[in-house]
């Protein structure tokens, strides 16, 4: 017999009889992995991943074709008086575009996998049978996060490294720090999955999906404003971009990934590619990665707390 409900108490799924509130000692990753596997199975069986893979293969084919044509056009270019390195300019630009496309599609994927995780599933009656089982609501949430973060981060990395390899193979352009750059992009997708999960506690799936895509767009816009602010220069625009970077660090991670992509491109080409195809590169400083990790923890903790206190 277990006392399991008191006013204002934790309102998660029921813990085992010996522990009314689910003590830390009894907290295990088993249920997290079960929920994550179930979410991944759903993505597979609903053919979400199949559709994504087919579309990505088409994207990859078109990218390779575009890359081939681009570097074919450059083959007769001998350079000009300013010492423009056209190959680096073209390579960095096209990989930068692939990074933007990959992160955007990763954002869509992360959002679709998490937008209805709590309120949406509760409204449809999918959540209730699961959370009365002996797993805490935090475990349920972490399971959903794990699945969405793994899928979206893996997707972003596949697109990014695919683009890097295709560009290197066709155009002989290799980024200076491909792994650090890729990890930042993947980190951006993981943050978006966490934010979407937080939103899912409060909003319906549709409202949350719209919010996440708007937040992504706002971050991108702030990055563009920052690039303009750097070029003019305008302290106000720089301040807006800097603030957005801290509030929405996935955008800062994207711009930092661009920085790592182009920072070794010399001369005029370097100056041009630093402006970027879609948002300029930006060095957010050494605190960016620690802040992104802390931000992730804060967002997940906030989602867990909000979920625990929510009536279903």
């Amino acid at each position: 017999m277990t006392r399991n409900a008191r006013p204002g108490g934790e309102k998660p799924s029921h813990p085992p009889a010996s522990s009314p509130r689910g003590s830390l000692a009894q907290w295990s990753v088993g249920p997290v992995l079960i929920v994550a596997r179930h979410a991944l199975q759903e993505a597979l069986r609903r053919r979400v991943l199949l559709v994504v893979l087919v579309l990505t293969a088409i994207f990859g084919g078109l990218y390779a074709w575009g890359c081939y044509e681009l570097f074919q056009d450059l083959s007769g270019f001998r350079g000009d008086a300013s010492g423009l390195d056209a190959r680096s300019l073209a390579g960095a630009t096209i990989v930068g575009l692939a990074m933007f496309g990959g992160l955007f599609l990763g954002t869509v994927l992360a959002t679709f996998l998490t937008a209805g995780a709590v309120r949406g599933d509760a409204e449809r009656g999918l959540l209730q049978p699961l959370v009365v089982r002996p797993l805490t609501r935090t475990q349920y949430l972490l399971g959903r996060f794990l699945a969405a973060a793994a899928v979206s981060a893996a997707y972003v990395l596949v697109v990014y490294f695919g683009a890097v390899l295709v560009t290197g193979w066709i155009g002989d352009f290799w980024p200076a720090h491909p792994f650090a750059s890729g990890l930042r992009l993947a980190g951006g997708a993981v943050l978006i999955a966490a934010l979407s999960l937080l939103g899912s506690v409060f909003l319906s799936a549709t409202a949350n999906g719209i919010l996440m895509l708007m937040a992504y767009g706002m971050g991108l816009l702030a990055g563009l404003l920052g690039a303009i602010g750097d070029a003019i220069p305008s302290p106000t625009l720089q301040h807006i971009a800097s603030t957005a970077s801290w509030v929405l660090p996935f955008e800062a991670l994207y711009r930092d990934a661009l920085r790592l992509l182009v920072q070794d491109v010399p001369g005029v080409a370097g100056a041009i590619v630093q402006l970027g195809p879609l948002g300029g590169s930006h060095d957010a400083g050494p605190l960016l990665v620690p802040w992104a990790v802390l931000y992730l923890v804060i967002v997940l903790a906030g989602a867990a707390w909000a979920f625990r206190t929510r009536d279903l």
Partner: protein, 268 residues
């Protein structure tokens, strides 16, 4: 031993009080029917018992493991019946394996549908699958919120048989339903709740116990509330002595439905 003990339970949603100090117990192996009109607080009470909703005041003690069937629930359409039960076995840490899944599907008469996807099932089949899911892990207590709402008469019969089987196994059940006949047939005790309060409780026989005698006279029908069959000779003799002409006598006994309607109406 009690499988479910609720004391002084209150739940407020803003200014609205859904539950106003409910006390309720379900003994080990006991089958208790929870009756009440829509909005009486039955589902809120069940949700608090299984941890989906937190109480504003009061305490709830629940035997573990327990099973729960929500009033409005859904399983993922892409899952087969067997996969739904497997997932719940894993979450409930049940070691029953395939034999438990097979037995439960047989119990709810879905043994031939183990490989059928949920999206291909009728509502009634999904409801029966929900019952099987609630019984995963050999629960000591089942909290069933409107388990027959989507069932045809055959499906309801299956549920009644299932409840009898649960009684044989010593599983306690709190059955939240609108179907009075179901409660009359299978429940050990009945609790009627209205406007968030318990307004009547007892065994079906106790609640139905109200009797009376109706006598048809020249002047019309006269009722003697509380009178029983044994009182009929005296009543008739008294009436005849008083000069009345008796055309007919009937002993009446109130049904659970009468009690329910009277109690709930009185409570309003």
């Amino acid at each position: 031993m009690t499988a479910l003990a609720i004391a002084g339970l209150r739940k407020r949603y803003g200014g609205h009080e859904a539950l106003r100090g409910v006390d309720l117990e379900v003994g080990e192996g006991e089958l208790v029917g929870l009756l009440g009109p829509n909005g009486a607080g039955k589902s809120t009470l069940t949700k608090i018992a299984c941890g989906l909703v937190s109480p504003s005041e009061g305490t709830v003690e629940v035997a573990h493991p327990f099973g729960y069937l929500a009033e409005l629930f859904r399983f993922p359409g892409w899952c087969t019946a067997d996969e739904v039960l497997l997932l719940h076995q894993q979450l409930a840490k049940s070691s029953g394996g395939a034999s438990e899944r097979g037995e439960l599907l047989e119990l709810v008469r879905l043994e031939t549908e183990a490989g059928t996807r949920v999206e291909a099932m009728s509502k009634g089949m999904q409801q029966r699958l929900g019952l099987a899911q609630a019984m995963i892990g050999s629960p000591q207590l089942l909290l069933l919120d409107e388990p027959t709402s989507a069932l045809d008469p055959g499906g309801r019969r299956t549920v009644r048989d299932l409840l009898e089987e649960l009684r044989r196994r010593g599983v306690a059940v709190l059955l939240n339903t609108h179907l009075l006949s179901e409660v009359e047939q299978v429940c050990d005790r009945v609790v009627i709740i209205d406007h968030g309060e318990v307004v009547a409780a007892g065994t079906p026989a106790e609640l139905e116990g109200g009797t009376g005698v109706e006598v048809e006279l020249a002047s019309g029908l006269q009722t003697f509330p509380g009178a029983t069959r044994d009182d009929v000779p005296r009543i008739v003799a008294d009436l005849v002595a008083a000069g009345e002409q008796v055309y007919g006598v009937r002993v009446v006994r109130s049904s659970l439905e009468d009690v329910y309607l009277e109690t709930v109406t009185d409570a309003r």
